[in-house]
């Protein structure tokens, strides 16, 4: 169906179901209960899940298939955000032209950087992309201030031209919308203690993520995808066979740059504001973390990794020591204090430490990421398949 085999189609349906029912799935605890702080079902966070999912899917097309490790992908995210906000300022508050422009601009930018960077491979490629990204970051902070508004970040203002819908700018800054459907409007459903929020913005992001995911599945299964895998396995042999590998890697780079631009544009659509810190190299490191953690080269891994890290960043980081004391209060005092002291460095503000350790463990023991881990467990339990087309061949 849709040009996919049965397994892939089932996976697409699974992702679609997860995205559709996310407001329920991520809100398992009643609002009044003590565990409600682990609910992740509010629109802002769910949007981040899917947007960074798109970003990671795109990064995976480059890193997972060709093995080229880019440390500068956040630059495309930032460029996408800036172009979307400019579209809001100049043309209209409709998200469609903004998204189109951010994808196009990020694609052009990726073409330029990719054309230069892909002349080298391995570590040199990583450093070249890193250098380009840091360059864009520094420029966005300093000289390009007329375009990027420097440290403050690019924001909407009342006196922006907004050619297409100048009439409705009276009073307050208008909100982003899709043909009148406001992005931040939401419906709340109260059900016996639970409270579920369905936001327009989230469902738009989820829809786009599904399309992006579908395209990436098709790409993975296409001859083009096979070509990219061949480059990852042995680029020299590909070259000696008489095939020029550069156009293929460049195409992969541009596609993944466009995904990043799309993610950046969506970030701006949900919250019309763009800052240079989105382009910093630590932001590029984050998408690397997501992809590796979930499983590079697998289809669903990057989405899982993105969700995992964003969940940690927003939920895990809220656990402070008083909550820990609450949890362990059933124990004797000395044991409670001991346990709190042991766990405290790893939660709350220290969640990066947990993330770093987890990431190292994944790189050392599970090069296939969480997906590989899941498959290993499934096989141990006896209901895994003999061969899994998702796992990388190496």
């Amino acid at each position: 169906m849709l040009g996919l085999n049965r397994r892939d189609f089932a996976m697409l349906l699974l992702v679609a179901a997860l995205a559709l029912f996310a407001p329920f799935i991520l809100n398992p605890f009643p609002t009044a209960s003590g565990l409600s702080q682990f609910n992740a079902g509010y629109p802002d966070l769910m949007q981040r899940f899917v947007i960074f999912g798109i970003f990671a899917i795109g990064f995976n097309i480059l890193f997972g298939l060709t093995g080229y490790l880019s440390f500068g992908h956040a630059a495309f995210l930032g460029v996408g955000s800036y172009s979307a906000v400019w579209m809001f300022k100049l043309l209209s508050m409709n998200v469609l032209p903004a998204l189109v422009l951010s994808v196009v601009i990020a694609g052009l930018f990726a073409l330029l950087i990719g054309y230069v960077s892909l002349r080298r491979s391995g570590i040199y490629f990583s450093i070249l992309t890193l250098a380009f990204a840091q360059m864009s970051f520094n420029l966005a902070y300093s000289v390009l201030t007329p375009i990027t508004n420097g440290e403050t970040g690019l924001q909407l203002a009342l006196d922006d031209p907004r050619i297409l819908d100048a009439a409705n700018t009276a009073g307050s800054v208008p909100v982003t919308s899709l043909f009148g459907l406001e992005m931040r409007s939401a419906v709340t459903l109260d059900l016996a203690g639970w409270s579920f929020t369905f936001s327009v913005g989230y469902y738009l992001c989820a829809l786009i993520m599904l399309v992006a995911f579908y395209i990436s599945v098709r790409l993975f299964r296409s001859p083009f995808g096979m070509m990219l895998r061949a480059i990852k396995t042995n680029q020299q042999r590909v070259n000696y066979t008489g095939l020029n590998s550069r156009p293929y890697t460049l195409a992969a780079f541009v596609i993944s740059g466009m995904y990043a631009g799309l993610a950046g544009g969506l970030l701006a659509c949900m919250d019309p504001l763009a800052g240079a810190d989105r382009m910093q190299w630590t932001a590029s490191g984050e998408v690397v973390l997501m992809t590796i953690l979930g499983g590079a080269g697998t289809l669903i891994g990057p989405v899982l990794g993105a969700g995992f890290i964003k969940y940690f960043e927003n939920i895990f980081s809220k656990i402070n020591d008083s909550i820990l004391h609450q949890w362990f209060s059933f124990l004797p005092d000395w044991m409670e204090n001991l346990l709190v002291n042991i766990f405290y460095p790893f939660v709350g503000k220290g969640w990066h430490l947990t993330l770093g350790i987890l990431f190292m463990l994944v790189v050392i023991f599970l090069p296939g990421g969480l997906v590989q881990g899941g498959q290993k467990i499934a096989r141990k339990l006896g209901f895994g398949k003999k061969s899994n087309s998702d796992t990388p061949a190496e």
């Binding site: 000289v143 690397v288 993330l355 790189v363």
Partner: protein
Amino acid sequence: MDAIILQTLNGLDKGSAYALIALGLTLIFGTLGVVNFAHGALFMLGAFCAVTVSKLFQLSHKASEATGVDFMGQPKFEDVLYVKEWFGNDLGAWLIDWSVPLSILFAIPIMIGIGFIMERGLIKHFYKRPHADQILVTFGLAIVLQEVVKYFYGANPIPTPSPMAFRGSFDFGVMLGFDPNVIIYPYWRMVYFAFSLTLVGGVFAFLQFTTFGMVVRAGMADRETVGLLGINIDKRFTIMFGIAAAVAGLAGVMYTPINSPNYHMGMDFLVLSFVVVVVGGMGSLPGAVLAGFMLGILESFASLNEVKDIIPGIDQIIIYVVAIIILLTRPRGLMGRKGVMEE
């Protein structure tokens, strides 16, 4: 003219830091073939060795006898510093004043130890894995080290001043016949420059004039043959890793008076020092030092107003531009050996 001299001097201290970090990086790459993204974290750990020493010297306890009454009428107990109690007032004060240079003694064994543990515990298992994996695992390690430091020392920069004797600035201009106060240069930066030259010289002398260094150089050229001659080259490379860690750490120790250390200073330096290594040539020690100083000076020249008027923003990107040009035209870097990591 005076501006040129001043910018050259200003570039020297940044260049020294780049050169020292890049030297360690390329030492690790040249010996073990490992791309170490945690090297900036080692620089940061060195800086926090200095912070630790100065904190240790500041430890105090309440005096047992009251020395007077405070404004509330309660008996007042003064804080007594342990160092002053143990070593006497004068020596104690001197120790506190000189805590940064003294931390070198403390930092050397600590950093070598950390280097050993890192190499034996983690890096060892990544020799056979692709460079991408090495980058990833050391990147993870850098995050962990950074967060550990953040947990113990907090997120704010911790000022650690240089000794009284080196505060203030030296008026270079007068010596060269310019007006006073045209070319002034802080004493501590001169110390830093001299220190880094000594350290670089020391590492080179160690590699050039000792038997150990000779074996290491032989191992860098052809690891397999040295191994076949019955020399345990792995052990020596581990020691070199420790030394590289110590070089980065000492660079960090002495850098603390120039910039107050905070937990992410390593990440800030890491990207630049990688660029320096690539410009100098992967695995080339003289190349790393040369490129470090060159890029440091270039950066400070680019921040001259006259230059910025011609090309705005050049000061922010000059290093990256140079790196990109070098990588595209001469991938083995300025002084890299032919055939080493060219593709």
